[in-house]
C-alpha cells in the first residue's frame, strides 16, 4: 500500500463509512493493539522475534567483537548455541535456552573489488545499512527483499529474496563464505574449496555453524522507479507472462474478497531525482478498518469495498535501488510463504482466494505474489526450479492459525516449498521430498556438528536431527 493520496482517500472513505453505519471513527478496528507483554523490569530478559510469537530466555547472549573471538568461544566449551540474526524470522529457527550468538559487532563492508563488482561483507550487517554501504563503493545488490530489517546472515540462512523472474535469492549472490564451525575451525568456502560445505551453507538455516562473512557478486549502483496501479485480477493473471518478462521486477498483491489486485512494476531509470511518493506503512490499518466496516453492511458491503479498491490512484516511487526495493514495515504481522513452481502460481493463487471466499474467512491482508529465478543452492526454495512465491499474512494482533491452517494444504497440492524463516508445519519427512539435495545437506550438517550443538527444537523437527 503506497501513496499519500491513497491514504487520504481511505480516510475519506472511512469517515463516510462510519457516518453511514452510525459508527464512531474511534472504533476498535482503528486502534493499534499492543503486544500483551509478559515481562516487567527486574525479570530475566527474554529474547523475542519481530512479530512476538517466538520467544526464549537464553542463558547467555554472546556478541563477539571479532571473528577470532567467535572462533575462540566455539572452542571454549561444548555448549549449545544458535545464531540469532536480527530476529525477523517467524519460524522457530532462533529460540534456545542455551546461548544466542549476535554478530552486531561484525558489521559493514570489509573490502570491495571494483573490477569484479564484488564485495566482502560481514554477515552481522543489517540489510538496511548494506545498500548505502555498498553504494559508497559504487556497487549494489542486484535485488533486495521487501523488508530490510534483517541481518545479511539471517537473510542468507533463509534464502530471503525479492521479486524478478531473472533475479535469484540473496543466497544465489554469494560466491564465497567464511564459516566458523561448531568444532572451532574457520573454513573459507567457495565452489572449489570445501565445495559441499559451500553449497550447503549458502542457505544453511544456521545449522552448520556461524557464517561470519561472505563475498557478494554485485553490480554497479543503479536507480529504480516503482510504479503501482490497481487492476482487475483476472486481466492481470491473463497478462502475467508479459508483465513478468517486460519488467525487471514485477510483483502483485491480490486482495481477498475483491477482484482487484495491486500491480507493482519496478524498472531501472537513469532519471535524476524524481517526484517520489513516500511509503505509507500504516495504510494497511486503514484498509483493515475499511474492510471491517464494509463487511458489516449486509448485501452491499463487499461491493463497496471492491469498488473502493478499484478506484484507487496509481503511484510512483523512485530512488536508489536499495531505497526503492525495501519498504518500512511498522505494522507487525505473522506470515506464511510457500514457493510453488512458477507456472503453477496463478492456479495456486486462485485456489487460495476461492478457499478464503468459500470459508468466508475475515481476511483483508493483501496476498503478495513474486517471481524468483531458479538457482543451484541446495536448500533454496528456488533450487533448480523457477518459483512463484505466495505470501499470506495476518495482523500480529489477530490469530494467524485458522487462516494459515486453511491455506497451507493448498500449497502442498502444488508442491510448494515453505520459506525457512516463515511459518509452516512441515517436518523432515515431508521436506525431504521437496529437495533433491536434502540428504547431502544432512550429511554435511552431521559432519560439521555431530553433537548437535546448533540443533534447537525447530531444527530437530524440520531436519530430523
Amino acid at each position: 500500500m503506497t501513496g499519500l493520496t491513497r491514504r487520504e482517500l481511505l480516510r475519506a472513505a472511512l469517515a463516510a463509512g462510519a457516518s453511514a453505519a452510525g459508527l464512531s471513527a474511534c472504533g476498535r478496528g482503528d486502534q493499534h493493539t499492543s503486544v500483551s507483554g509478559d515481562w516487567a523490569p527486574g525479570e530475566p530478559l527474554p529474547w523475542r522475534n519481530w512479530s512476538g510469537i517466538e520467544r526464549c530466555v537464553p542463558a547467555r547472549r554472546i556478541a563477539p567483537a571479532s571473528e577470532a573471538e567467535l572462533v575462540a568461544l566455539l572452542c571454549s566449551g561444548d555448549f549449545a548455541l544458535r545464531p540469532a540474526g536480527a530476529g525477523h524470522s517467524f519460524s522457530g529457527l532462533v529460540p534456545s535456552d542455551a546461548a544466542l550468538v549476535f554478530l552486531d559487532s561484525l558489521s559493514g563492508v570489509i573490502s570491495a573489488d571494483p573490477a569484479s563488482l564484488s564485495a566482502e561483507v560481514w554477515t552481522g550487517t543489517r540489510l538496511w545499512l548494506l545498500g548505502p554501504a555498498l553504494a559508497a563503493f559504487g556497487q549494489a545488490l542486484p535485488n533486495l527483499s521487501d523488508i530490510d530489517y534483517q541481518t545479511l546472515g539471517g537473510a542468507l540462512a533463509t534464502s530471503t529474496h525479492g521479486s524478478g523472474a531473472q533475479l535469484g535469492s540473496l543466497s544465489s549472490r554469494v560466491t564465497a563464505l567464511w564459516l566458523a564451525t561448531p568444532g572451532g575451525e574457520l573454513l573459507e568456502c567457495d565452489a572449489e574449496r570445501h565445495a559441499e560445505v559451500f553449497h550447503a551453507a549458502r542457505t544453511s538455516l544456521g545449522a552448520l555453524g556461524v557464517i561470519t562473512r561472505v563475498r557478494l557478486a554485485n553490480r554497479a549502483a543503479f536507480r529504480l522507479v516503482e510504479r503501482s496501479r490497481f487492476v482487475e485480477l483476472d486481466a492481470l493473471l491473463a497478462d502475467l507472462p508479459h508483465e513478468r518478462d517486460a519488467n525487471r521486477h514485477f510483483e502483485f498483491y491480490a486482495f481477498p474478497h475483491s477482484d482487484v489486485a495491486l500491480a507493482i512494476a519496478t524498472n531501472e531509470t537513469d532519471l535524476g531525482p524524481a517526484p517520489t511518493v513516500d511509503d505509507d506503512p500504516e495504510a494497511i490499518l486503514l484498509l483493515r478498518s475499511l474492510f471491517r466496516w464494509t463487511r458489516a453492511l449486509p448485501g452491499v458491503g463487499m461491493r463497496l469495498y471492491d469498488a473502493f479498491l478499484r478506484n484507487q490512484p496509481s503511484s510512483e516511487r523512485a530512488g536508489e535501488s536499495y531505497a526503492v526495493l525495501a519498504h518500512p514495515r511498522t505494522v507487525r504481522f505473522n506470515e506464511m510463504e510457500y514457493t510453488v513452481p512458477a507456472e503453477a502460481g496463478p492456479e495456486c493463487l486462485r485456489a487460495i482466494l476461492a478457499e478464503i471466499r468459500a470459508r468466508d474467512l475475515p481476511i483483508c491482508f493483501p496476498i503478495e505474489c513474486r517471481f524468483v529465478c531458479k538457482d543451484d543452492v541446495w536448500l533454496s526454495m528456488f533450487h533448480e526450479r523457477a518459483g512463484f512465491s505466495i505470501s499470506i499474512h495476518q495482523f500480529q494482533d489477530e490469530d494467524w492459525r485458522p487462516y494459515f491452517a486453511a491455506i497451507e494444504p493448498i500449497f502442498w497440492k502444488f508442491e510448494g516449498r515453505p520459506h525457512w524463516g516463515k511459518l509452516h508445519s512441515l517436518d523432515a519427512a515431508r521436506l525431504s521430498a521437496l529437495y533433491s539435495c536434502w540428504s547431502d545437506f544432512r550429511r554435511v550438517r552431521r559432519s560439521l556438528d555431530p553433537r548437535g550443538r546448533l540443533v534447537n527444537a525447530h531444527l530437530a523437527q524440520i531436519l530430523g536431527a
Binding site: H32, P281, R332
Partner: protein, 123 residues
C-alpha cells in the same frame, strides 16, 4: 585478518559519526525542539545506528524521532520503567527488544534514555 579488522573498525567509526550527524540533522529538520539527549556509551552508538535508527531516525515510520522533544514529551511522562517495558515486550509498531536481541536491560534503558532525552539521573 587483524589488518582487516582495524580497517573495518575505522570505517565503522567514520560511518557512526556520519550517521549520528545525520540523525541529529533529521531530528532538527522540521523545527521541533530537540530534547537534550542522555549521553550514549560508545559501544551503544553502533547499536543505535544499526538497530534503533532504522525507525527512530527515519521520518514517516510512525516511530518517535530520536531527540525530538515533541515526539517524546508525553512518552517521557510515563517514566523510564514503562518505556523499558514497552521496548522489551514490543509496543505498536516496535518489535520486542526494539529489535536488539543482544541488548541487556541496561543497554535498552540507556538507548531509550538517549532517544527520549531522559537525564541519566532519571532513568
Amino acid at each position: 585478518m587483524r589488518a582487516i579488522s582495524r580497517k573495518s573498525a575505522r570505517a565503522r567509526a567514520k560511518l557512526t559519526c556520519a550517521l549520528v550527524c545525520l540523525v541529529a540533522a533529521c531530528a532538527c529538520g522540521d523545527d521541533r525542539k530537540p530534547a537534550t539527549p542522555s549521553p550514549l556509551e560508545p559501544e551503544l552508538v553502533l547499536t543505535y545506528q544499526s538497530v534503533c535508527a532504522s525507525c527512530h531516525a527515519r521520518a514517516g515510520t510512525g516511530a518517535p524521532l530520536a531527540g525530538n522533544d515533541a515526539d517524546w514529551s508525553q512518552r517521557r511522562a510515563q517514566g523510564g520503567d514503562a518505556l523499558l517495558e514497552h521496548t522489551v515486550n514490543g509496543y505498536r509498531g516496535m518489535p520486542p527488544l526494539g529489535g536488539c536481541g543482544r541488548c541487556s536491560a541496561a543497554d535498552l534503558r540507556a538507548l531509550v534514555a538517549y532517544m527520549a532525552g531522559i537525564a541519566e539521573a532519571a532513568r
